[in-house]
Amino acid sequence: MDGEADETVAVGDDCVPGRRRRVHGMLKLYYGLNEEGKAAEESESLDPCDINGPHFDPELYLNKLRRECSLAELMDQETCMVKQIRSLDSDMQTLVYENYNKFISATDTIRKMKNDFKKMEDEMDCLSANMAAITEFSASISGTLQDQHTQITKLSGVHTLLRKLQFLFELPARLNKCLELQAYAQAVSSHRRARCVLQQYSHLPSFKGIQDDCHAIMDKLAQELRQKFRDGGSSAKDLSECVELLLQLDEPAEELCDKFLSHARSRLESDLQGLEAEIRPYPSAAKDASARRSPSLADNSPKFNTLPSPTSNTDILEFIDRGCNEFVSSLCLVITSYQELFINHAQTGELVSKNIPQMANCKLHAFVDNLAARYFSLVERRIQEEKSVGDNSLLVRALDRFHRRLQAVAKLLPGSAVPNKGTEIVIRAATERVKQYLSALQSFYMDSLTDVRQALATPRLSVAGASVAGGGAHLGGPGPGRDAPNSLPELLSSLSASILNQIKSVLASVHLFTAKDITFSNKPYFKGEFCSQGVRESLVVSFIKFVCQSSRHFCESAGDKGGSTPPALLLLLSRLCLDYETSTISYILTLTDEQFLDQHHSPVTPVTTLCAEAKEAAQKLLNHYVKVQGLIISQMLRKSVETRDWVNTIEPRNVRAVMKRVVEDTTSIDVQVGLLYEEGVRKAHSSDSSKRTFSVYSSSRQQARYAASYTPSAPMDTNLLSNIHKLFSERIDIFSSVEFNKVSVMTGIIKISLKTFLECVRLRTFGRYGLQQIQVDCHYLQMYLWRFVSDENLVHFLLDEIVGSSAHRCLDPAPMEQSVIEVICERG
């Protein structure tokens, strides 16, 4: 029974008749009726367990069920079976009832038919008699009408011919009428219909006449069409209709193309002229114009600049917008309609054979290229006028729009060079922009340097005043130089911060070019070369190089003129360059690389090169600073030695004012350098580096020396002493490189100063008191200068040399008592 249910589901569902047939079949089976062929079908259910099969064995089935199923299943099976038995019974009852009814009605029908057939036999006889009569009549009629039929066929043939002829004869008039009514399309189609016939029968004079007439009219029509085409006032639709008709009239397509294009050209050119009017004329043109306007001013050239030059009053975005909306969109229109007319249309018609599409395409390309070139030159001119670097987004947006609109052309006209050229323009504009940014950065840098210079100049005056007023207040650390250079670190930080900010904002501006929503940003140029070569190399790297270069320039230009650059600026710049070397450069480059360099594929200047350059610049500046400051002090010392009459001087009572000034200046330089540079390493001070022990050192040594020098008893000692000292001390390079720390800088300055002192002393001749004055001065310098230098022995050595040299140059060498010298120096 399961199987039966399954089958019912599988077969029955959709077709109720199927189910009925099955029931029917079962009944048949029950009644022992077996249709032939069915037996074969049923053989499938030989299974004795198939409850629907003919070989069903209840015993086996029951056994099987009992064996296989649980009690609950058996119960289910049982209820199911009862249900099925019940439904089978009711089915059977229904069938029996239906059959009985049908049987009754069938008996009735058979009885009725018996009656009717009798009547029908009579009527059939009557009908066959009538049909025989009709056949007879029909034969007689067709016999009589045979002749007329052929005549009528002939007549109708003549009629159609006549109508055709009439059409031909009326054709000229009709065409004329069409011409009058300007129903050109109808005229053309009429003519087309007649054309072949006329051509065929043109040997007959009358047809020839008609043909000639038609030709004349059609010529006129073509003329008129051409006129209309040429006038160009009509809409694009009219125009295209015109072209279509003309093409049908066998007008040469090439000529039409040309005409169409030249017509379009005139319209586009008026657009271009509108654009051109917005661009300020070339400066030279303006100049010429103004010169022509006012020839009297020709010799007064500066006036030209004051003449109000016609500036473009639209910004670039508006300009590009206008260009896009007017020129580019009408160009697109022209392209589409042209393609519609000459290319797509022609491909369907018979014109393909004449190679028209190719020809037309060539013409279109030339046309578009030509106009686009003019448009591009205008755009480029306008872009070139975009000099101010204020708002880059405007330019970028304008370029984006420009580029985006050109994509439409690219779609319409595949294979055209126009979009590429457009991209080139965008690229050029971008590189140009980068250049402008570079020069803007450079001028910004120079401007900020000027600001710094001014800031340095103003408080410097007050320093000078303070130090003059302050007199001998040089000993305390916070001396007169304190107030002014206080601002040095601030100046430095504000300078470097403002430069950094400027770089950042420029980077941000430039970054607009590569923004995601900009159409051209995914061009390979903007992905690769623009980032690496454009932004990184020619903007950032160039700027850093410029900074280094201009710094170096400060050293060179100031070298000869002698301090046209304030020394503080040199110091500040050197610190700036050093900062660049240590951190700023790598920071800037990392910033740039993060923003612009996704993948390294082109070689770029490595950070180390730039750092090396910056360090070199810093070194140069610092060396130059040392030199300049050294020279300032040298100059004082030199003047003081050269202008004095050392032979006839009085006994020293004081340290000369120059020496105090030297110490003061050195102190203020020390403060100044200390603001920007670290202390640096000194050679470890021996315990005797204090003032007191110095004097011991000095006195013992110098006295020994003088005693040796000027007592003939020990003539060799002095040479020995001096030479031994020289032998063991390293050679001193006076103008040498310094390190980036305060001590080294100060050592350099003091070295230069003292060496000058020495050389000047050697050129003079001294009297007794002259020598003593030098002794006092040197002792004073010794007292204050040792603290600034890395190796105090250097100061000792140079001062000893000075005193020694002046002793040699002395006419009457009688050195002063060391104690007296000390007293004088203590007194100040």
Binding site: D560, L631, V647, P715, K726, I734, F735, K755, T765
Partner: protein, 395 residues
């Protein structure tokens, strides 16, 4: 054989060698073209000053010295006559009435100084002969003499002395025993102007003079005694010395306290043709080699002497031109290649034998490959141009 071993000679006072004297004045004996001979003048305020005549025996590397007394005062500048070996000029300081005055004079060496020294060097060492004064070049009106210049390649009849702000052209008459001022030029301007040094140009028929005062270099025409050019701010600081290129008439070298050596074309004085900055202190002396003007010698108070090879601005930028002509064409190209190699200007070598400031350096007049330098501590060092370079220049 050792190529570049320098010969060092320490000056000593004769007869009693108390201590080394200071010395600044050095000159080659210009008229002497056979022997390598230098004149050195000492500076001492306490002893009689001397002129040491240093003979260098090139073959044996031996120095012979002779001493002449110069009792007038300490010598600041020495100039040897180009015509007469025995005649020389000095600028010296003398003290009178506790005032120091600079003077200039023409001297003659005693005729037998040489013979005497050869026979018994010890004797002469103990009894140095004295210079014979020919005439004073003093004109009290014109102040302190800075230096005396002989007319280059002249007959030893004309000298120029520079005194304060005057340039005096003297005619020496009656075998140099009488000096007459024939012409003067005066430098006028603000402040106390003072010539520091000068050079008589060997070109233009010896009619030009170049002088240095402060940072400016001036050219003078001796026929009219008027200024013909002036290089203001030639150096950042004091100009210490000048020299004319012996072969290129418009080229001039200068040096100064800005540690630089500059080369000028006096036809275009806006910019130096070349500038060197090799020294680490003031440069006191610059000298062109007399025959190979690419070799330039500079002395500085950084105790160094530097020999530079300035090929690019020399008269022989492509090596020796005479040699080129002698070569056949096949070898010509080869020569060109060789000639182009050393085109770069370079420092040939730095000499560090001195331990004090070097104030003077001179080429020998007899041997173009040999030069002497003198430092303040009285040390005279004789060096040769490195042999490799010498052969490259010659071949």
């Amino acid at each position: 054989m050792e190529d570049d071993a320098p010969v060092i000679y320490g000056l000593e006072f004769q007869p009693c060698s108390v201590r080394a004297p200071q010395a600044r004045a050095l000159s080659a004996q210009t008229a002497e073209t056979d022997a390598i001979r230098f004149l050195v003048g000492t500076q001492s305020l306490k002893f009689d000053n001397q002129i040491h005549i240093i003979d260098f025996d090139d073959e044996n590397n031996i120095i012979n010295k002779n001493v002449l007394l110069h009792q007038a005062g300490e010598i600041w500048h020495i100039g040897a006559s180009p015509a007469d070996k025995a005649v020389l000029t000095t600028c010296y300081n003398k003290t009178c009435d506790s005032r120091v005055v600079s003077c200039a004079a023409v001297w003659r060496m005693p005729s037998d100084w040489e013979t005497g020294s050869h026979e018994s060097p010890d004797d002469t060492a103990h009894n140095p002969q004295t210079l014979e004064l020919l005439c004073h070049l003093n004109d009290s009106a014109h102040g302190n003499a800075a230096c005396v210049l002989w007319e280059p390649m002249g007959d030893g009849k004309r000298v120029i002395s520079l005194a304060d702000n005057h340039a005096l052209l003297w005619d020496l008459q009656e075998s140099s025993t009488q000096a007459v001022v024939s012409n003067t030029a005066t430098l006028e301007g603000k402040g106390q102007l003072k010539f520091t040094s000068g050079k008589w140009s060997p070109h233009h028929n010896c009619s030009q003079l170049a002088t240095a005062n402060d940072t400016a270099i001036r050219g003078w025409d001796l026929r009219t005694m008027s200024q013909i050019y002036c290089i203001e701010n030639a150096h950042g600081q004091l100009v210490r010395d000048l020299d004319f290129n012996p072969n290129r008439q418009y080229y001039l070298a200068s040096c100064g306290d800005d540690c630089k050596v500059k080369f000028w074309d006096v036809r275009n004085i806006q910019e130096p043709v070349k500038s060197l900055e090799e020294h680490s202190h003031w440069v006191w002396s610059v000298r062109y080699n007399h025959s190979h003007d690419q070799l330039v010698l500079t002395a500085s108070s950084d105790s160094r002497l530097i020999l530079s090879n300035m090929v690019s601005i020399s008269s022989e930028p492509f090596g020796h031109l005479v040699d080129d002509e002698e070569l056949s064409e096949g070898e010509d190209n080869h020569q060109d290649d060789k000639g182009k190699e050393p085109l770069k200007d370079s420092v040939v070598s730095t000499y560090e034998e001195h331990e004090d400031s070097v104030y003077a350096a001179e080429w020998s007049s007899a041997d173009p490959w040999l030069f002497a330098s003198l430092s303040y501590d009285g040390r005279l060092v004789i060096n040769r141009v490195p042999r490799a370079l010498k052969y490259r220049i010659l071949l």
